[in-house]
Symmetry: C2
Subunit: 249 residues, 2 copies
């Protein structure tokens, strides 16, 4: 394994530290994700890329960047989970999306914006690479295949985000909860039993409903024996039924 972070090096979260630790992993050339990542790049180009990259460990709860700060890099998620969120009023936030390993954060904004319009926070201990904007721009200009890679990836991200938002907006509350639970199980944890990385309130912010209703409906699902809940641990007992509820929504 090339990634140090795959070992159990995390210490318990400690607040107040803005950016946990800078790590030098062994580099992009032998990054285990390389095949999904920059396969258009030759050895020497990867070497260049590696030079404008910084890897960090971020602890759960730490803010990676804030709304309004300049975008200087794109962020590649190696490990963990990261939320993109935005204040919409004094008392309320919205979660725009949750990024997981292999995702780029900021890929959509970096070329058209100079400032983030969302904040970025780790919701699990995470490992990320910052890759400088300039570096990416240069590479796009000089390497057509790389450009096409980036474009394809942007395109997929957009489609995913839009489709999931459209799907959600047409569902009722029960459908949304069913959808999000299945999403965690199927796409993030690949298991019917997992620890919810987010609070009830954050779920509400993610799928546009109120905390109370998240709780209410999850309790309903528990009573109906569709799921088991123990604090933040969730086990999906009847995925078929949840799927029905989600698509009926």
């Amino acid at each position: 394994m090339t990634f140090i972070i795959n070992c159990n090096i995390f210490t318990p979260p400690k607040m107040g530290i803005r950016m946990s630790e800078k790590r030098n992993s062994t580099g992009c050339q032998i990054c285990s994700f390389r095949v999904m990542l920059f396969n258009a790049l030759e050895e020497d180009e990867l070497y260049k890329l590696n030079a404008c990259r910084e890897q960090f460990l971020i602890r759960r709860g730490e803010v990676i960047c804030r709304e309004g700060e300049p975008i200087e890099s794109i962020i590649y998620v190696n490990q963990g989970l990261i939320k993109l969120h935005k204040r919409v009023s004094e008392t309320r936030s919205q979660i725009i999306s949750i990024a997981r390993p292999h995702d780029f954060v900021g890929l959509l904004s970096v070329f058209s914006k100079t400032k983030y319009y969302y904040s970025i926070t780790a919701i699990e201990d995470s490992s990320v690479c910052f890759i400088s904007k300039e570096c990416i721009l240069n590479e796009i200009r000089s390497n057509g295949r790389f450009a096409l890679d980036i474009i394809t990836r942007m395109s997929r991200i957009t489609d995913d985000v839009l489709e999931s938002k459209f799907a959600l907006s047409s569902k009722n509350l029960r459908g949304r909860i069913a959808h999000i639970l299945l999403d965690f199980a199927d796409n993030i944890y690949n298991s019917n039993e997992f620890r919810l990385p987010v609070s009830r309130r954050e779920i509400a912010e993610l799928i546009d409903m109120r905390t109370e209703n998240v709780i209410r409906i999850m309790s309903e699902f528990r009573k109906d024996r569709l799921i088991r809940i123990n604090g933040h641990t969730v086990e999906i007992m009847n995925p078929e039924m949840l799927r029905k509820i989600s698509s009926a929504g």
Copy 2:
């Protein structure tokens, strides 16, 4: 003027004709929009691009392509208005977005999808160019500046769509109507008086509400002397108040 369609050549809409007329305008090299469009291309490259381009006139109501059809081109809107829409059930559709002059349609999907997941229909008499996918791909591969142009444009489109969807989803119905009216006035017609190019029902599909409520709220606005309505003609009388309602939403 380089564009034939700027003259009044449109005949009244006639249903049943799938694709109105093919037109050879004078070409990309002297297209009046060139400056906004492909300014990364040299003369000879524009010449190539021009060769894989077809220009069409589309009449109001005509379907340009349907959900599920293969994506073979991107569509550039020269003139008119075009809606991207999707069936969500037997009886209901959603409008994903409305494209206007200078917009590319399909730019977001062409690189990650092989089929359209939406249909495209003209809501005003329009002039569009189809530019073949292969042509664009080749150009991206061989011209880094062009690639960057495309990327920047994709990025802007995405941001716009996402931001407007987010804005809408957090507004109440009055806020949404106010928002969409201002959008037409400010961003499409640049005038406080305009002819709504869409039916009440289409407005509903665009901002996710019911036809009856679109009507009800527009009538409210009329009674409150915020707008004047005469059929499809709308005049915004009190834009400041509408802006308040939109952002309060």
